[in-house]
Symmetry: C2
Subunit: 309 residues, 2 copies
């Protein structure tokens, strides 16, 4: 199975309103709720691709129960979340029917106690030996040490389990130093890590800091990868219109899926870009359009990148 870690899970709620106008009252016409947090999104896409996935991290309160109830209904996803005293955060996306634009409200995560963190570390140690790969995704809730991901990367590497890290800021900086197999920063996260706004140079720099492979997501321009086997750029066949929520998580799922199937890097990248574009195209935020994925997969352009000396 593939293990996805989401320390800051969320109940993702989407509201549809006619037009959001600050300081007035709105009747919400449509409410959609899904389990969220980046690693949970990754798990959902992996499960849809037919992989067995185990989800771990934290869940608590009524929102945590809502997440677990829904995960129980998802085929191929096993819930190994650790219960906490605090309540799992909500995120609210308010979609404006007139413009299609989205306003996002993100609650802070619940406080994690030292005992809860220790319980998670035990759970992680139990799950790791049977994992074919592990992803560590998203922000850290309050109470989790800033070096948490670095420790989780080291444990995976000790057991020889390939580990992908997708986070930002200081947790990313520390995690990279622990030498993860793959990191998947977006352009901003990569620039923050390396100080360089030039993606080709920055991916190389991030490798020097410890990441074995760096796959940078560049929005509509696709992915740029610097790996021990070479450097590639993978781009979707045409500009895709829609909602980019979850596109990065779908790319992570594509990379993990290709990794456990031992596909060569260009095929992994094609899979990641096609899933990402099929997520932007899907009518529901964070879902992917399966026929669009199949159709896009053969049309992603993957080209070798050469760095001028």
């Amino acid at each position: 199975m593939i293990l996805t870690v989401t320390l800051n899970t969320a109940l993702d709620i989407t509201y549809r309103v006619r037009s959001l106008r600050p300081h007035t009252s709105h009747r919400v016409s449509d409410v959609i709720e899904r389990p969220g947090g980046k690693g949970v999104n990754v798990a959902r896409v992996l499960a849809a691709l037919g992989h067995e996935v185990t989800v771990t991290g934290f869940a608590g309160g009524a929102t945590g129960r809502a997440i677990r109830d829904r995960l129980a209904d998802t085929t191929c996803v096993r819930d190994a979340l650790v219960p906490i005293a605090g309540a799992t955060r909500r995120t609210i996306a308010v979609v404006d029917e007139l413009t299609g634009d989205t306003t996002q409200l993100n609650e802070p995560g619940p406080q994690i106690s030292p005992t809860e963190w220790d319980t998670f570390l035990d759970r992680y140690a139990e799950l790791l030996p049977s994992a074919s790969a592990v992803s560590l995704s998203g922000s850290l809730p309050p109470g989790v040490p800033v070096g948490a991901y670095a420790g989780l990367v080291r444990s995976a590497r000790t057991l020889g389990v390939p580990v992908l890290l997708d986070t930002s800021g200081e947790p990313l900086r520390r995690g990279v130093a622990a030498r993860p197999d793959i990191i998947k920063p977006n352009a901003d996260e990569l620039a923050e890590l390396t100080g360089s706004h030039e993606p080709l140079r920055a991916t190389q720099d991030a490798r020097r800091r410890g990441a074995h492979a760096v796959v940078a997501s560049l929005g509509a321009e696709g992915l740029l990868a610097a790996t021990p086997e070479g450097r590639w750029r993978a781009t979707p066949p045409s500009r895709v219109h829609g909602n980019p929520t979850g596109a990065g998580d779908s790319a992570v799922a594509g990379l993990l899926s290709g990794l456990v199937k031992r596909l060569p890097w260009p095929e992994r990248l094609a899979r990641a870009v096609a899933l990402s574009a099929a997520t932007v195209k899907a009518p529901t935020a964070g879902e992917f359009d399966a026929p669009a994925y199949e159709e896009l997969l053969g049309r992603v352009a993957v080209t070798s990148e050469v760095i001028a000396a």
Copy 2:
């Protein structure tokens, strides 16, 4: 005990953000959750005044559980909510820290099945004989017949239990015809019911339509009452600044409290106005400031109103 009916209960959530800007992402700095829906707010104020209160209506889903967990922690409030398959709605109040203004997002209520409605009617019939007064507050969730309040008013009157109705639109129109003891419309609801924008005339007209007593809430101007014993205007001592959320529900609690204590109308109105103003003054939406209430109570002006022939 006093029975409060809330057919469309809600989990009221308050978010604090620095400044709400549509189509951007916001980090919520503070999250407050409370059981809500107008009748639940009335119950909380009655309990704070020392009355034994029973809350009924519907609750379901994770949001319903959150409401019930919190009600269990509230002294003097007994939870007699009827479980439903659907999920209790949320309301989200986004408070802008820069301006203090609030943006409101209200989910629609859950669908109530005919069986659930019948279960509620049985529960209501069980509770009514031991009630000293009953309030019927707020909107009707989908599936509840539009004449619901009219039926609930009739059952209460058959048993001689004083009944207060606080709703709007067609449910109010039908409910008034069933001859409730008190209705508490605001200026808009009263105008919609009677077609008159002149409050003195409109309160008289609402009495002719069936309400024994009409207490119109006129915002900062206080209350205007037309009763079988006379007509009064009750006004707070000075303009109160703050958040008017829940001020109407506090007024209802004041009227019920005065009713079961058999206070004369002017004292009931003074209590209602003081509670209402103390709610506007309280830092948390929907709570009332107890010392402010005590201080305001003696300073509300209640004057007889004479209608020109």
